[in-house]
């Protein structure tokens, strides 16, 4: 029986092997062949589609016939500055900012505890505790919040049991953010956004905190800093790059989302919903395309600002 395979393989002479060997001996050809499929795929499918979309934003729609006029114009972009559309943009950007801020505040203690104090089993628990909601189905998470925020749901029940219903009602009575119930108010939209994007903030903040040497904080304490001072002057600046990295996710994801405000929130539109209705029921592809340019521009400015602040150098 010749079960033992030879230590040195005899060179093969099949056409496949010869072709492979030829390619390997020509490194430029080798690399070219390796990146060809991805370049074709992303170049044609993705970049091609993206450019086609951007071109459409320079077309306009005929107000009477509802047909797209294939002529270069900035009319569609001017439409973005009508008060109704401008409100949508302002509403979305302020929501994104509020969500980012809240996510940073909630994420910090979790990330700090996991980075500095958690060991063994606890470390694994924190890891799973962040990864599980991160990778669980997006829609199921939104659905879970529909269960939580429902009028007959667990949150109202909890508030009633704790005799705190008055506090909830006071919050819902607030102008702008309030509403009939949590599931149809900005407050509800805000909570769900924070929940869904929170893991994207925790992970980079934790990564930046893992790199802070513990003796640095001990040195700060030895030199007489109060915990508040050493947080403000040592820990927070060192965690900043992680917070900025996380904020890129929370900000960008909130800007583009159109499902959460549709399911939990008031009927007032966000950018994503505006894009969706414009391209769908309204059939106004040029305006939808112009609307998608808004998050691209905002994120471009955001990344540029983060770079100016040196956030990328510190990462």
């Amino acid at each position: 029986m010749s079960a033992l395979s030879p230590a040195i393989f005899a060179p093969r002479s099949g056409p496949l092997s010869r072709a492979v060997d030829w390619v390997i001996r020509h490194p430029r050809m080798f690399v070219f062949l390796m990146v060809l499929p991805i370049s074709l795929w992303l170049g044609i499918v993705y970049i091609g589609a993206l450019i086609a979309l951007l071109i459409q934003s320079f077309f306009s729609i005929d107000e009477y016939s509802g047909l797209i006029v294939h002529e270069f114009t900035l009319k569609t972009y001017a439409e973005l500055f009508r008060s109704y559309n401008l409100d949508i943009i302002i509403r979305t950007v302020s929501m994104a900012a509020a969500v980012t801020l809240a996510a940073a505040v909630i994420a910090f203690p979790i990330a700090y505890f996991a980075a500095r104090y958690a060991r063994g089993k606890w470390k694994a628990l924190f890891y799973i505790g962040v990864m599980l909601p991160l990778w669980s189905s997006y829609l199921v998470k939104v659905y879970a919040w529909k269960l939580v925020l429902a009028k007959e749901g667990i949150l109202n029940w909890l508030f009633a049991k704790l005799h705190l219903t008055w506090a909830l009602e006071a919050a819902l009575a607030l102008p702008v953010v309030g509403g009939n119930s949590l599931s149809v108010s900005y407050l509800g939209t805000f909570i769900v956004f924070v929940y869904i994007w929170l893991p994207y903030m925790i992970i980079p903040v934790q990564a930046s905190l893992e790199r802070v040497p513990a003796p640095l904080l001990e040195a700060a304490a030895d030199l007489g800093a109060t915990p508040a001072q050493s947080f403000r002057m040592v820990l927070f600046p060192l965690a900043m790059p992680g917070i900025v990295a996380g904020s890129i996710f929370t900000f960008s994801l909130t800007l583009g989302d159109y499902i959460i405000p549709q399911i939990i929130g008031s009927s007032r539109l966000f950018i994503g919903q505006a894009v969706y209705t414009q391209q769908g029921t309204a059939g106004n592809i040029p305006l939808a395309a112009a609307f998608t340019v808004v998050p691209i521009v905002i994120m471009g400015l955001y990344l540029w600002g983060a770079r100016k602040m040196g956030a990328f150098d510190a990462l």
Binding site: I24, I38, L50, V275
Partner: protein
């Protein structure tokens, strides 16, 4: 950052509260799947039953949506595995003109909001008059799944020593043998992990899918329709629980697969 001092109580409370906030809503899904209440989301549930598991199992629309999702996820994962691995090998192992552009290009579909990917594909389909089919969904999914496989593979390629490949070649292995006997066993777990994450991502995707599916219903689109216009709450509860299980198990498996890899390589961050 490690130190042996004890955590202050407020920090402990804030961290535990945060963890509770993250996990409690998911736990709630498992309770509601067994509630006897049909018309509302009443808490606490008036009673528990297994009835809705059976009802859901007999629903053809749920099964059709599930099979479409599985098919799309499988095809997208295969495409992503092929393209992602090739790209990762090229970027990790050689310097060439346009290398930076390629590594940026791969990340772009996941860095820009999904709605942008979705609407640009949709408008491209309508410009080219491509009818909606399983393949239009796959086209969108594979595009953002590539980056997942790429990230996993590129990290592994960087840690795998190039000398291994040289040694195999010196010992007389040809290109195909080097790939199947040396390279593939070295990157197999990274590909498995990347493939599972890509599968989970595709299985769950809804934002891009709403633009590329037309009249077809994947499981997430079925969920979305139920969320917007609830018709059968008990069935939705059960489906939600099943989806959590289907996405969570690959995540846990991927975690265990890559965790060992990171440790043996001694790649301390």
């Amino acid at each position: 950052m490690h130190s042996d001092t004890r955590a202050p109580l407020p920090l402990k409370l804030a961290a535990a509260g945060g963890l509770f906030f993250l996990l409690a809503p998911i736990a709630l899904i498992f309770v509601y799947a067994f509630t006897t209440e049909e018309k509302s989301f009443q808490w606490p549930p008036p009673g528990f039953t297994l009835k809705w598991l059976g009802v859901t199992l007999n629903r053809p629309d749920v099964w059709e949506a599930l099979f479409l999702s599985l098919r799309v996820a499988a095809i997208s994962t295969v495409i992503a595995l092929a393209l992602g691995t090739l790209t990762a090998a090229a970027v990790a192992r050689s310097r060439f003109f346009g290398r930076e552009t390629i590594s940026l290009l791969v990340i772009l579909p996941i860095a820009l909001p999904g709605i942008i990917t979705g609407i640009s594909l949709r408008s491209a389909f309508s410009l080219l008059e491509i009818p909606f089919s399983t393949w239009t969904i796959v086209l969108g999914h594979a595009t953002f799944c590539i980056v997942i496989v790429y990230n996993n593979a590129v990290a592994r390629f960087r840690r795998t020593s190039g000398a291994l490949i040289d040694a195999a070649m010196d010992l007389g292995a040809d290109g195909v043998q080097t790939f199947t006997l040396v390279i593939l066993p070295n990157i197999a777990t990274a590909l498995l992990a990347g493939g599972m994450l890509a599968f989970a991502l595709s299985f769950d995707e809804v934002i891009v899918t709403t633009f590329t599916a037309g009249q077809q219903t994947t499981l997430p689109i079925w969920m979305l329709e139920e969320l917007v216009r609830p018709r059968q709450r008990p069935v939705t509860n059960v489906v939600a629980m099943a989806v959590v299980l289907v996405t969570v198990l690959p995540i846990l498996a991927a975690y265990y697969l890559t965790r060992d890899g990171e440790h043996t390589a001694g790649a301390e961050k």
